[in-house]
Amino acid sequence: MDETTSDDPSPRTWDDEPESPARTSAEEEGPTRTSVWPLVVAMGLTVSEVGVFMGVYPLAVGGLVLFVASVAGITHEAGYTGRPWRLAGALGVVLVAVGVWMVSTQVPLAVDPVVAAVGGADGIVLRGFSVVGAGLVAAVGAAVVSAMGDGDVDDGFPA
């Protein structure tokens, strides 16, 4: 009835067959009634908003990473992408760009002025760096997980 039953022997190989028949039947026959992701997406958005705005950097980074990961997860679950980690990586790159832009609004993008700004604890520059950091964590993390999970059928999540 449903490809997600726990004792389902068939491996989920999105890479090879993004449109695998098992999947489509589950998606189309009736609305899915549960998902872990919405709660995580909401938490990610909240934590990153508070973190970035209030300048609590660990929260900013953690929240953004959580947000990126959960967006990738929910998009995958809804069938909009077959490769969530690739999406997470792409979103990470976007975050890096946004963070760099934030820094660039305050200081010229050269080593000395940036170091001076960080040393002077410039709020916006530090926030920019927290966004860059989150982007890097997301992008690198995605790449690593994606490499680890590649082709391993027992691994449960698609790379």
Binding site: E29, G30, T32, V36, A42, P58, G73, H76, V137, G141
Partner: protein, 618 residues
């Protein structure tokens, strides 16, 4: 310091990647927590339907529109009690002229929290509770167009509320984060200059609730446009769905603007921009932006309750809604006009008199579609076969309160009158006749009307009627006293009123304040009766023996949502003897869903035509 932060940051990031990987494994939640006993009934071919994880996990992971509707409802009611508790403290303080039980700062905090909570955390969510649960049933859809987005929209609300209320929790800790004292309108420069980080947290929380409302609105528009069943077209779309559609359009235009204005305010507060500074964009800019959102917001809050009343009132009048088309047109007209009246909140700010006059004209014009609705409701009841059940009583109370609330609004829309009454209790009386007298009343009426569908049980009718009468009496005592206070010149938003007797008659003002306080406690008491009734009846109320608790079939008024309920019940009774929990509980049927949800000859009121038509039916 920076190094420490960076280390923490890196650790947090790594930890979160681990969390994400874990979540990806958990993705197939259904396989992870199979239903105990496998009690799913119905055809196994209809995958995914009957399978919900048990217990609390179900509520955290659900994307079922009915479950989400219930979550919205519970959330809204918690907020209702928070806001109610705040206002009872304020009314107690106002029972005598001086500072008796609290200081001005705390009063201001309560005032701010009360307003924001009632509008954003109670009003909008209680409407979403009904629309989530019932719109898909009314239009014959399986679920919302985007069930996961629906769940995200809900889950943004609890963190939003925590941030909005944060100051109250952190103030005792001595962190220097206190509750905001900006009032719900957050006028600059006051809101820009309060250094308290509690204000930032509140603004961020508001922003999240705005994102949530916008996501919900997009979802409802998509659902009503694309997910209607085969037999539901624009001509027979029910009135509640029409009002939700209009409301969603208003949200789509209004809330993103609020979000942007909030961000501008946050930037002004934290990053020395000057959007709303006197020497920058000016404080009046905030008022324009806020009210361009704020006035549509009041219609965002009132249109769906109007739809609920238009839906429920005919059921107990034994007649279909009079002038259905005109009720729809007036809804659309109000939706459009509501964007052209915002400056009636700013008549006394010194804006250009010619601009003022045009806003006065549009504001008066909006009274026309409002009156169309009122007359249609009255005509629906005219010569009808009225049955004064609790939902019906709340609908009638709604209309009566709208007459007073609406007419006082028309007075305020006249510039010369407003210049006298602006910022007095008259304004407070006006909008409370609407927000309490209409929005809360329609919400209560709908809760009673649909209680049987959601719980499969009946509430205690006697308590429900007591709830109505106490609410009606309390509301009119409290808010009529406020209208009179306004005429006497009592300004709003003050914790005390120890003024010189030459300015206003202090003795009368004191008496009227005491009357308002008594009324408020009557309302509060009524809600306690209601809360007890809901909880007690949910667990112990008599179970329904058929799907027509309101005897709507007799009048040919058996709406689509009750038809759906009937198929659920039949499937349960006919098939296995297991109980069907209509709140979407663990046992759910699928068999009947495809058939019979929509009658073969649907009408715009959702009833079906009987072989013998009533003479007064047309």
């Amino acid at each position: 310091m920076v190094g420490e932060q960076l280390a923490l940051t890196a650790l947090m990031g790594v930890f979160l990647v681990a969390v994400a990987g874990f979540l990806a494994r958990m993705e197939d939640w259904r396989s992870y927590t199979p239903l105990a006993g496998g009690s799913a009934i119905g055809d196994a071919g209809y995958g995914g339907h009957a399978e919900k994880p048990a217990g609390i996990v179900r509520w955290f992971t659900t994307v079922d529109h009915k479950d989400i509707g219930i979550l919205y409802g519970i959330y809204a009611l918690i907020a209702f009690f928070w806001g109610g508790a705040a206002v009872l403290l304020m009314r107690a303080e106002l029972a005598a002229p001086g500072f008796d039980i609290m200081q001005a700062q705390f009063y201001n905090s309560l005032l701010t929290s009360h307003g924001i909570t009632m509008l954003f955390l109670f009003g909008t969510p209680i409407i979403a509770a009904f629309s989530n649960y019932f719109i898909p049933l009314l239009i014959g859809a399986d679920d919302m167009a985007f069930p996961r987005i629906n769940a995200i929209a809900f889950w943004l609300l609890p963190p939003g509320a925590i941030l909005i209320w944060a100051g109250f929790f952190t103030a005792p800790l001595g962190l220097g984060i206190d509750p905001a004292q900006t009032s719900w309108t957050m006028y600059t420069p006051l809101s820009a200059e309060q250094a308290n980080p509690g204000v930032d947290l509140m603004l961020l929380g508001l922003h999240l609730t705005g994102v949530s409302a916008t996501m919900g609105a997009i979802n409802f528009i998509a659902t009503i446009f694309t997910e209607r069943g085969d037999e539901v077209n624009w001509a027979n779309l029910d009135i509640f769905s029409w009002t939700i559609l209009t409301q969603s359009a208003l949200i789509l235009f209004a809330f993103p603007l609020l979000g942007s204005a909030l961000i501008m305010l946050l930037l002004d507060r934290n990053f020395s921009t000057a959007f709303f500074a006197v020497e920058g964009g000016s404080p009046i800019l905030w008022q324009h932006l806020f009210w361009f959102f704020g006035h549509p917001e009041v219609y965002i809050l009132v249109l769906p309750p109007m739809g609920l009343v238009s839906w429920i009132l005919p059921k107990f009048s034994g007649r279909k809604l009079f002038g259905f088309k005109f009720v729809v047109y007036s809804t659309l007209a109000i939706g459009v006009l509501s964007f052209g009246v915002w400056a009636h909140h700013m008549f006394s700010t010194g804006i250009d008199p010619r601009i003022r006059a045009s806003f006065m004209a549009v504001s008066l014009a909006i009274a026309i579609p409002s009156a169309v609705k009122t007359f249609n409701w009255i005509t629906t009841m005219w010569n009808g076969n009225l049955r004064l059940t609790a939902p019906m009583l709340f609908c009638i109370g709604f209309i009566s309160n709208f007459v007073i609330g609406g007419i006082t609004g028309v007075f305020l829309a006249a510039i010369p009158v407003d210049l006298v009454l602006h910022d007095t209790y008259y304004v407070v009386g006006h909008f409370h006749y609407i927000v309490m007298g209409m929005i809360a009343f329609a919400g209560m009426g709908a809760l009673y009307y649909w209680f049987p569908i959601v719980t499969g049980r009946m509430y205690q009718r006697r308590l429900a009627k007591m709830h109505f009468w106490l609410s009606m009496i309390g509301t009119n005592i409290t808010f009529f006293a406020m209208l009179v206070l306004g005429y006497l010149g009592m300004p709003r938003r003050y914790a005390t009123y120890q003024f010189d007797g030459a300015i206003a008659p202090l003795a009368q003002v004191t008496t009227l304040h005491q009357i308002a306080t008594v009324g408020a406690f009557i309302i509060g008491f009524a809600q306690l009766i209601w809360a007890w009734n809901m909880v007690q009846s949910w667990y112990e109320g008599p179970e329904l023996d058929d799907a027509d608790p309101w005897n709507l079939k007799d009048d040919g008024m058996f709406g689509r949502e009750f038809q759906w309920f009937e198929t659920q019940k039949l499937a349960a009774d006919g098939g296995e003897s297991e109980e069907v929990r209509a709140d979407g509980g663990e046992v759910e049927t699928d068999g009947g869903e495809a058939t019979g949800r929509v009658s073969s000859d649907p009408r715009s009121d959702g009833g079906y035509r009987k072989a013998v038509r009533r003479v007064d039916d047309e």
